[in-house]
């Protein structure tokens, strides 16, 4: 395993679906270890790069759940391209806070937010074909594709992400003990 790691830099892709970017921030909270990480991996598609389509990758990190059709396409693209797919954070694992809208009626919300809200002029419900189709519920990503690992937390800490990734890169089974494993 060591030899393989030495010979080839692994490729890492990340994306944010219906999330708040907090998990990406936690990823950057590895701080100066980021500079060590890029010695060992190359970034593929990620909000940090200008690669817009995911190529063949070893590791994919997914933040956020599924709230529209676009999210599904991106998630499927990542599943096709990434050998190991990781759900990172509460939103990806179980829908997280965005899923709070699951008990609301979309029609009613739209009416309110875009038509009768205070201070609104030319109220209308956005409906351009360029806007991806929203789903009536927000879903965790494992309902759509197979997921290899789940890291809970909102967000997991930078230390937890670092431990997880270095375990994986070194060929160990990733393990998060206390206090790295938390759900808040």
């Amino acid at each position: 395993m060591e030899a393989v790691v030495q010979n080839r830099k692994l490729r890492l892709a990340t994306t944010s679906l219906a999330g708040c970017f907090g998990c990406h921030m936690a990823f950057l909270d590895i701080d100066e270890r980021l500079l060590d990480l890029v010695e060992r991996v190359d970034f593929d598609r990620s909000p940090l790069t200008d690669i817009k389509q995911c190529g063949a990758c070893d590791i994919g990190l997914i933040e956020g759940g599924i709230c529209n059709a676009e999210n599904i396409h991106v998630l499927q693209e990542f599943r096709r391209q990434c050998k190991v797919l990781i759900a990172i954070g509460a939103c990806a694992v179980n829908g997280g806070l965005p899923a709070q809208r699951n008990h609301l009626s979309l029609g009613q919300c739209l009416q309110e937010v875009y038509l009768t809200w205070p201070g609104i002029v030319s109220g209308q419900i956005p409906n351009d074909p360029e806007l991806p189709l929203p789903l009536d519920k927000v879903h965790p990503i494992h309902e759509i594709v197979r997921i290899d690992y789940f890291i809970p937390g909102c967000p997991p800490s930078g230390d937890a992400i670092w431990k997880f990734l270095t375990d994986l890169l070194d060929g160990r089974t990733p393990r998060l003990g206390h206090p790295l494993l938390h759900f808040d």
């Binding site: 907090g22 936690a26 909000p47 200008d50 979309l106 009613q108 002029v121 991806p132």
Partner: protein, 492 residues
């Protein structure tokens, strides 16, 4: 001002006769957005739009929640500037619990948290997201245009960026309890003080942080000096500006009153009390974006739109209270030769001046004994309504809540920073498209010019998508086995 505005918003020709080009997703920004261009047979640009493609529904599902949950919940709107939402909500709810004036310790701890947030967010935006365009060139090799490329070419710059952000995040962790989505502010105050040991830990690094912030201002100034025509004209358009200004007219990120100027710098509104924001600002809805378009109600949607954020703030205030940043502000104002600077790329310069101010302010606060005080919260006569306004890293952030007798939220209205810049960002990319893309074979590098203009505003498209949306079409969501697990409801 309105003469050229809104050109290219909607193509005159039938959409079907035009060729569509999309930049999807817009990268090296926070959140989800895309740009579409429509071109005619001669490759002339006919339409350009920045679409905000996601929806959340925060304002709706916060209804019915207990008010004391809100400062923690709303942070999940945005993981880049959670502290801004945390504090804007807490400030709004201060009024609900009747805390009209917080104890000095509480206010200063909140300020420390907020200035840590400004520092980390501005560092992240400049170094991790935008610097590759500015250091390598807008059309440089796409594979290198990222923080990894910067680390290879300018290791010292990348390292300073990473450590500046780290310091801001540590300030947040020590005041809020967590780096992302902390819990430090509560309605009526804060729940923890800074211990002397924690303070000394931060003090050990602060001089270095001030120095690096100063160096960052110099990097941007050098970039401007190297190519003034580019930096002054790229995507430039004229508009009004809006921000909070402190009681003494100074730059203040935490509190103040609203001030707006027209494109010539003439004051339109001043000393405007934030709780009356609904009289000042109205919002327009357009069918092609989930993000609304705010404008100054008195001027109407065509003339009333405005810029917010660093470029607005640094020129809207009368002074900056810390000496190094004030010196830089004067130099910046001089660059405008008596006129307001409207160039989008000057946002970077103003942003780095603000980062320097944040670093200096953190240093001052760390020397203030109130930070380890024990009176951390207060309360008074209960009210049913509160408005909290703050200058988030990206601009003016407004939170407004109504709470009933059972402590449950009955109404929530949010106007987030990036939403104010909706029209400005659209305007900037239309200027860029006309100037650089018209009639040309579109390459990746040319398209990146559009993104460079968007990035200058440091948009947080995640924050900006809090409203719900839906379209009159059918969609099925199937699981891996082909089982239908969700169906989008058809239009009501």
């Amino acid at each position: 001002m309105a003469s050229e505005a809104f050109a290219l918003e909607t193509a005159a020709a039938e959409a079907g006769t035009l060729r569509r080009v999309a930049i999807d997703p817009v990268s090296r920004v926070e959140g989800h957005g895309k740009v579409t261009l429509l071109l005619d047979a001669n490759d002339e640009v006919q339409q350009v739009r920045l679409h905000i493609v996601e929806f959340r529904g925060f304002e709706k599902f916060i209804q019915g929640r207990p008010y004391w949950e809100v400062p923690v919940m709303v942070q999940r709107l945005c993981g880049i500037c959670p502290v801004s939402h945390h504090l804007a909500a807490a400030k709004a709810l201060d009024h609900v619990v009747g805390a009209e004036k917080l104890p000095a310790s509480a206010e200063k701890l909140r300020r420390l948290m907020h200035y840590g947030q400004i520092l980390q967010s501005h560092a992240l935006h400049f170094f991790h997201l935008s610097s590759p365009d500015l250091l390598f060139g807008f059309a440089s090799d796409a594979g290198r245009r990222n923080i990894v490329g910067v680390a290879a070419a300018y290791p010292e710059v990348a390292k300073q960026g990473v450590l500046l952000r780290k310091f801001g995040q540590e300030v947040i962790r020590l005041t809020a309890g967590k780096r992302v989505h902390g819990t430090g502010a509560i309605p009526g105050g804060v729940n923890r003080a800074l211990s002397p040991a924690e303070r000394d830990g931060l003090l050990a690094d602060i001089d270095q942080i001030v120095d690096w912030s100063r160096a960052a201002v110099h990097i941007v100034k050098r970039l401007h000096a190297a190519d003034p025509p580019l930096y002054d004209s790229f995507g430039t358009f004229r508009s009004n500006i809006l921000s909070l200004v402190g009681a003494d007219g100074a730059l203040d990120f935490y509190d103040g009153r609203l001030r707006a100027r027209d494109a010539d710098g003439k004051i339109l509104v001043d000393g405007f009390a934030v709780e009356n924001y609904q009289q000042l600002i109205h919002e327009e809805v357009k069918p092609w974006s989930y993000m609304k378009f705010p404008f100054l109600a008195a001027l109407g949607p065509r003339d009333g739109w405005y810029k917010v954020g660093p470029l607005a703030r640094v020129q809207n205030c009368d002074s900056i209270a810390t000496p190094l940043a004030e010196g830089e502000r004067r130099e910046f104002i001089d660059h405008g030769q008596g006129r307001l600077i409207h160039a989008p790329l000057a946002y970077h310069w103003a942003r780095m001046i603000e980062m320097l101010h944040a670093a200096e302010t953190i240093k001052d606060l760390l020397h203030d004994d109130d930070l380890s005080g024990s009176e951390l919260s207060c309360s008074g006569t209960r009210r049913h309504e509160g408005v909290g306004v703050i200058e988030a890293p990206r601009g003016t952030l407004i939170h407004h809540y109504r709470v009933d007798d059972d402590d449950l939220v009955t109404m929530c209205n949010l106007i987030v920073s990036t939403t104010h810049n909706n029209q400005p960002m659209n305007e900037a990319i239309r200027r860029v498209a006309r100037r650089y893309l018209n009639g040309r074979q579109l390459s990746e590098g040319l398209l990146n010019h559009i993104e460079v203009a968007i990035r200058a505003f440091d948009p947080c498209l995640s924050c900006a998508t809090h409203a719900l949306g839906k379209m009159p079409l059918q969609l099925e969501l199937q699981d891996a086995a082909g089982q239908v697990i969700a169906r989008m409801r058809s239009a009501s």
